[in-house]
Symmetry: C2
Subunit: 300 residues, 2 copies
């Protein structure tokens, strides 16, 4: 069993940290929220005041937070992981950030004698709770193997996909496809509502047709048709991930007209009070732009 | 067992007609292609010179062709089905056409004493061969029930989704989502190729992640990664279906920015020699626009 530092006990990190404890790993966690500290101390975790303190007493240091800047601050800032850098310690960032940020942080840590993996995940809070996440890791193969017992405690599908940054590149492509799919579903529901179609019947048909997807199965009926968007993976997070994908595409001179159009809808959703809703709420933008009600099935 | 007139023995209609014969139905088919006539006569079908002649000797008349105008000509044109219209006969169009065209044709047939269902399908030539198609039918419930034994011979998932035209509305939404998904997949592969990602590994990861879909599973590895686009459901057909969806949206004043962007890529694919390729070849437009090779995995 390993000693794991953990920073970012949120919607994803919280259940992941619980699964690490459940699997028998030692947890040195950072949190500024009293209820989180109390919960994880009660579960047997040890509270660390700073990332540096967590790193000092851990072999692996996992971060799963929101933004590039946050990961940079935790890794390289004052009281950051780098202050405790030592050979054999491994920084494992499981956030979704830009691959270039990964390489910048990894270079600084390497200069201080410490390794890094980028290991973003897919599966959302539900997958985190059930320990069924997909994990796509970039970095040295040996580091990936060292992390395998940790990854196995939080995920089900483990992939070493290439060198540093490769995990993030693949994650961003997954988000670009997934974010686009929910936008298409929103457009489809808006069109069908305008045409007076039976939206419940349509949902059943599409589940058995070529337009089906993992996201359609998880969200079309439960969220879009129910007009209920409880916070899970939020509009704000999806918009952030699409922005990272478009930033990467811009740097590499890759035109992405479909994904860019989807991004605009998530941006509009932010301004329509949907920032904290599940990202399927992009359908609400399509609904209001079409002047229809998606959640009110009629016969045409 | 029923007597079925059948017009449109193509990539979809051919295997469907074979399945009807296999199930024991009588087939009166129209075709101008000698090899088709020979094949279906050998299978026990009876060749009819015109749609009117097929309709005269059949209770059900199925069409599955490409365009609105073609269905209109077969139904209402010279030597068309309408010339044999009689109470109890049912015109079943399984093509993908606009819901307004369905209503126009149905009104003319009804005035001549004959009923109609719109019953488009999903599942492609593979689903047609395996008799696993999804069938989404609009029209009278009683007519749908009369057709059930016929539909069961060619499909697996049978849905009565509402009044005339409702089948087509739902089919167009399915196409809008599916066409958009393949465009997103093309963009994702182009971005990943530009970033130097391992595209084979990416394909495996996405299959276990939130970006997965029926189309990704069927086409990402087999077509996009293999750089092989054998004609199945073609670029030309997908572009036609998306045009129908956008026409409907225009009439109903529904903005579809994401789907409209996808449509542009299929239009571009037409001009890049991809008209007759499987519609996953939309990825080739993304590839050439990004100046990359999708089918050449490298490590980044």
């Amino acid at each position: 069993m390993s000693t794991v530092g953990f920073i970012g006990l949120g919607a994803m990190g919280g259940p992941m940290a619980r699964n690490l404890l459940r699997a028998g790993h030692s947890l040195n966690f950072c949190s500024r929220r009293r209820e989180v500290v109390e919960e994880f101390e009660a579960l047997g975790g040890r509270h660390a005041a700073t990332p540096a303190e967590a790193a000092r007493v851990s072999e692996f240091i996992i971060t799963i937070v929101t933004a590039d800047a946050e990961v940079g601050e935790i890794a390289l800032g004052k009281n950051g992981v780098i202050e405790a850098a030592a050979p054999g310690k491994l920084f494992v960032d499981m956030s979704t950030i830009g691959p270039q940020t990964v390489r910048t942080i990894a270079a600084a840590l390497r200069a201080a004698g410490m390794g890094m993996l980028d290991a973003p995940v897919s599966g959302g809070p539900g997958g985190a709770a059930a320990a069924t996440l997909a994990i796509m890791a970039g970095g040295e193969a040996a580091d990936f193997e060292r992390c395998r017992p940790i990854f196995q405690a939080v995920g089900k599908h483990l992939f070493h996909v290439g060198p540093l940054g490769a995990g993030q590149t693949i994650k961003l492509v997954n988000q670009l496809i997934g974010g686009g799919i929910m936008a298409l579903v929103g457009e489809g529901f808006a069109l069908a509502a305008a045409a007076g179609a039976d939206l419940k019947a349509m949902t059943e048909v599409i589940k058995k047709s070529s337009g089906n997807s993992t996201l359609f199965e998880a969200r079309a009926e439960k969220f879009v048709l129910a007009d209920d968007y409880p916070p899970g993976f939020t509009v704000e997070l999806m918009r952030k991930d699409l922005a990272l994908a478009l930033d990467l595409a811009q740097a590499l001179q890759v035109p992405l007209p479909v994904s860019a159009a989807a991004f605009q809808l998530y941006t509009a959703a932010m301004h329509q009070g949907r920032r904290g809703d599940d990202f399927a709420a992009v359908a609400k933008v399509c609904e209001s732009a079409a002047g229809v009600k998606i959640a009110a099935p009629r016969q045409s």
